[in-house]
Symmetry: C2
Subunit: 139 residues, 2 copies
Amino acid sequence: MKNVKVTLVDGMKFSAIAGSGHTVVMDADPESGGRDKGSRPIELLLMAFGGCSGMDVISVLRKKKEKVSNLEMNVKGKQAESYPHKYTSIHIEYVLTGKDISEDAVKRAIELSLDKYCAVGATLSGTANITHSYKIISD
Amino acid sequence: MKNVKVTLVDGMKFSAIAGSGHTVVMDADPESGGRDKGSRPIELLLMAFGGCSGMDVISVLRKKKEKVSNLEMNVKGKQAESYPHKYTSIHIEYVLTGKDISEDAVKRAIELSLDKYCAVGATLSGTANITHSYKIISD
């Protein structure tokens, strides 16, 4: 069981504290009555997905002794035009930098994350169609 | 279209920057090879849900001139026991403090958020069964 407590600070600003003890601040944009003092809640879903899958991918590649010097995920989410504007599709691009990184290892690591390990991706995939791509950069 | 960039910092620590310009740090717990320097990605989903629905509820109640001095959401998520441990159920408890808050107004505000407005709830509800409760405290 995971649990969090989210508290109104002022205006549309909320502070969330998780069971792990860490805090995240959220706020609406000025057009929605906020003052932009934190991320939009809807953005947090994409951040969570990038972090979750990134942890899986880097773990698998480290176990395979791949030399990854940088790992970046660009996550884009498309929302339905009508309310409640749920995510209909999410694309995650993995950008891996390193020396002689095996493309097969990268493909396998991503596959393991998206099909087997990533709890965030598995939760979001009930509503959003998830697609991915990757780019390997030599350094 | 919403977009975020998530970058590996070190170990299992990732920093996410959203289109809005705000940053959230995530890390794994020590048992998973992390150093607990930020929230777990899976916790962010519950934080996002509490923030999203809290914004809806406070907006509706302010429009109705209800005097809410504090609003807190306790969000609990239950994950499947087997991989990928997706959320199977999420409960959100709204705790409202204020003077003479109308219970009908509270019920209606929550209903509007969960059935109509909250994009995060609508996205999560594709996988998790969402339930709610509320508590009104007089001050």
